[in-house]
């Protein structure tokens, strides 16, 4: 479950990683261009495309693109939290709203499960982990479990 099959693998080293935001077209990635040295890997899977950026810190960000060309899911893992505003785009205000409302699980993960926005984030110092996806953008017949 935790290994993924690279159908088509494109590796580029030392280039500037490009991030697309949740819910935005794949073509919009240039707008999110970060001046960060990292390793970028683009994969084509059955039913979706994956852009994976490994930063110098070891943090990995994965962006899942539907055949329709929209980013339907993002996932992250590693020593640092990615820039959520950049990663979630128009969905960032959802996170702001719900994150402020949840205070009960002291030190535990934050989980948001709404009809049009699913988000989970947890971990500890030097290791953070999470994902977000938009159910309505999920390609037909694709499980949200691909976002990992």
């Amino acid at each position: 479950m935790r290994t993924f099959l690279g159908v088509l693998l494109i590796l580029s080293l030392g280039a500037a990683p490009v991030w697309a935001a949740l819910g935005e077209p794949e073509s919009s990635v240039s707008a999110d261009r970060q001046i960060l040295r990292g390793q970028i890997r683009d994969e084509v899977h059955e039913g979706y495309r994956l852009h994976q950026i490994t930063e110098a810190s070891g943090s990995v960000v994965r962006e899942y693109v539907s055949p329709a060309g929209k980013v339907f899911g993002v996932a992250w893992q590693g020593p640092f939290v990615p820039n959520m505003q950049q990663l979630l785009g128009a969905y960032f205000p959802y996170l702001q709203q719900y994150a402020q409302a949840q205070t009960g699980r002291h030190g535990g993960p934050l989980i948001i499960q709404k009809d049009n926005f699913v988000f989970s984030s947890g971990g500890h110092m030097r290791w953070y982990h999470g994902r977000a996806y938009v159910p309505s953008l999920l390609p037909t017949n694709l499980s949200p479990e691909v976002v990992q």
């Binding site: 479950m1 810190s57 990615p82 820039n83 505003q85 993960p109 934050l110 989970s120 500890h124």
Partner: protein
């Protein structure tokens, strides 16, 4: 004859019985025969003790055929004097202020009649009585071996308020039970470097004015590497709202000191967190040792270093890195960088905290539920080499703010906010978390004492060092070397592997495991925890990078039942909740419930590992 004895000192004391012949025949013991021509004088009492400065009324009984006058003397001194005491014409003796030498004097009542017959009495002057009342503070306290406690004594009822201090009845104490000063800085107790058996001593202050008056208190000596651990609702208390209340909060007390000085502020209610690294204290809490007096951490251009720390639940903490001495139990971390959070000198940069983690800012007691966070996780610094070369990735935590514009900055490893344990002189390679077992129904708190004053559950212990003292040996614990991120390299649950997806975290208040669907149980509808119909047993297999493996048995109970059954309970060993929203986001954040009834070690990366085990990135052991 009838003799009249009057003892009340207020009454006239001289009784001359003008009896005439009709009484003489029946003259009693005071008489000398039937042909008494001269007065016979007897004093009452004939012997007595009186405290220095005190009064004593004498009564003279005179049997006399004629009228007579008398004089009173002490040691043949008419009316006495200040050395032997004075006596009035009515027989009221006032003892001298100090006990004379010898301490006995002779009081005489002498008749003016021929041959000057007299009656006499012996008086012994005793040391003065003072109504001294002694009280000592603090009472019933505890202190780590090798540390000092200043006791104070309050003496009332006498002008001489001096006391003599003793430990277990030995004036000044000794090296076994600890010493206490009787000269300068009187009352300063210094605990022995080794905890005596039994580990309690009695400190006593005895009034020097009246050595029969004293006050004592019991002092419990703890190991110098051991701090108490408390489990309770934290500083926001029990509001009865399970959506906000701080169940399973683990707290201890630390002191923040100006470097290399005794200027310290004791800070209770600091969260103990194996899931973070470094001490973070609220700015609003630092009063007697204000943040403005701590040494700043500056970058190569002289700008003061700020930090935005992220937590997994998207909450964050913003504030400067400052250098302080941090004292916990009997251990002192000298000049360790800490973070002061909630400092509003600089505005939180929108590019960092607010974008990275848009959750609550943990900048007040209300938001944090504690006065600070003591991060004792498995690293020395909170960032490490990643932050030493400047920003090369998103989520970078360190900033400088020249001209009020905050930008990321490189901070050398040694200047980064660090685990105070790693800065202790000894016992600096990790911690042991020792919590007592509690009932599956939970417990009100740790420690817990019932209304009758009986201790039912002890406090936990935060023991510094692993394998450095007799009280922190690994024993039979299995050591699991963690990976570079501080996780078990692998956890297996129900046949599924979770690589680098499991860790132990006292700063998480529940067992955050998997998701409800995967576990086949239900989330609660009215709180953020799990509500299985019957308690769920989970068995995990944990793996270490050193090849170790073992099983962990956990239980997750219905949170509604737990909270409803005992609304005042703060401690639960079976409170659980979802870690993810589905299988792909699940992981195992084993929070405080895991620690009850266990002895758990967290080893710091890069330090000495017991038994020569290979754990370069740190370890868990239990």
């Amino acid at each position: 004859m009838r003799r009249k004895n009057v003892s009340a000192p207020a009454l006239a004391s001289l009784w001359v019985v003008m009896a005439g012949g009709m009484f003489l025949a029946s003259c009693g013991s005071g008489g000398t025969g039937n042909d008494i021509a001269l007065p016979v004088i007897t004093l009452s009492p004939v012997s007595a003790s009186v405290p220095a400065g005190g009064p004593l009324q004498f009564t003279a009984t005179i049997v006399s055929p004629t009228s007579t006058t008398v004089t009173w003397s002490v040691n043949n001194i008419l009316g006495g004097n200040s050395t032997v005491g004075t006596i009035s014409s009515s027989g009221l003796y006032i003892a001298p202020a100090a006990v004379p030498n010898p301490a006995t004097v002779t009081v005489r009542c002498t008749s003016s009649a021929e041959t000057n017959p007299y009656g006499s009495a012996i008086v012994t002057i005793t040391p003065p009585v003072v109504n001294a009342v002694v009280a000592v503070a603090p009472t019933d306290s505890s202190t780590p071996a090798g540390t000092s406690v200043q006791f104070t004594a309050t003496v009332t009822g006498t002008t001489n308020t001096a006391v003599t201090w003793s430990v277990n009845g030995v004036a000044g104490g000794n090296s076994t039970v600890g010493t206490i000063n009787n000269a300068s800085t009187a009352g300063l107790y210094t605990a022995p470097t080794a905890v005596p058996n039994p580990p309690t001593v009695v400190v006593t202050a005895t009034s020097q004015a009246d050595t029969s008056q004293m006050a004592s208190t019991t002092l419990t000596l703890t190991a110098s590497n051991t701090a108490p651990l408390y489990v309770n609702f934290g500083l926001n208390g029990n509001t009865g709202n399970p959506n906000t209340d701080y169940y399973n909060g683990l707290f201890t007390t630390v002191a923040v000191c100006l470097p290399a000085t005794a200027d310290c502020q004791i800070i209770p209610d600091v969260l103990v967190d194996t899931g973070s690294v470094g001490l973070r204290v609220l700015n609003s809490v630092l009063t007697t040792v204000p943040a403005t007096e701590l040494t700043t951490v500056r970058d190569s251009d002289g700008n003061q270093v700020q930090e935005c720390v992220q937590f997994g639940d998207t909450s964050y903490a913003w504030g400067p890195a400052l250098v302080a001495d941090v004292v916990v139990a009997g251990e002192r971390a000298s000049s360790v960088p800490i973070q002061v959070i909630g400092d509003t000198t600089y505005t939180v940069p929108a590019s960092s905290c607010l974008s990275l983690g848009p959750g609550p800012s943990l900048d007040t007691v209300a938001a944090l539920g504690a006065n600070g966070i003591l991060g004792v996780g498995s690293f020395i610094q909170d960032c490490g080499l990643n932050c030493a070369g400047g920003q090369t990735f998103s989520g970078y935590p360190y900033y400088v703010c020249p001209n009020n514009v905050c930008t990321t900055a490189a901070v050398p490893v040694v200047q980064q906010v660090a685990n105070p344990v790693a800065f202790f002189v000894k016992d600096n390679n990790g911690v042991e978390i020792l919590l007592p077992s509690i009932s599956s129904a939970g417990a009100p708190s740790l420690p817990y004492t019932n209304a009758a004053g009986t201790s039912l559950i002890p406090a936990g212990q935060l023991i510094f060092g692993v394998g450095t003292q007799s009280n922190n040996a690994l024993g039979s614990a299995t050591l699991y070397a963690t990976d570079e991120y501080g996780n078990f390299p692998n956890v297996v649950y129900n046949g599924a592997s979770y690589p680098s997806d499991g860790f132990l975290d006292t700063g998480s208040n529940a067992l955050y495991v998997s998701d409800a669907l995967t576990l086949g149980i239900a989330d609660c509808t009215d709180n953020p925890y799990y509500c299985p119909a019957t308690p769920l047993s989970l068995t995990l297999t944990t793996y270490g990078a050193n090849g170790a493996s073992g099983t962990v048995n956990l239980s997750v109970a219905n949170a509604d039942t737990l909270f409803g059954g005992n609304p005042g309970f703060a401690a639960f060993n079976n409170l659980g909740g979802a870690s993810g929203d589905g299988l792909s986001s699940d992981y195992f954040d084993l929070g405080l419930p895991f620690f009850f009834g266990r002895s758990v070690f967290v080893g710091i990366a890069g330090t000495t590992v017991p038994n020569n085990a290979s754990a370069p990135n740190g370890y868990f052991a239990f």
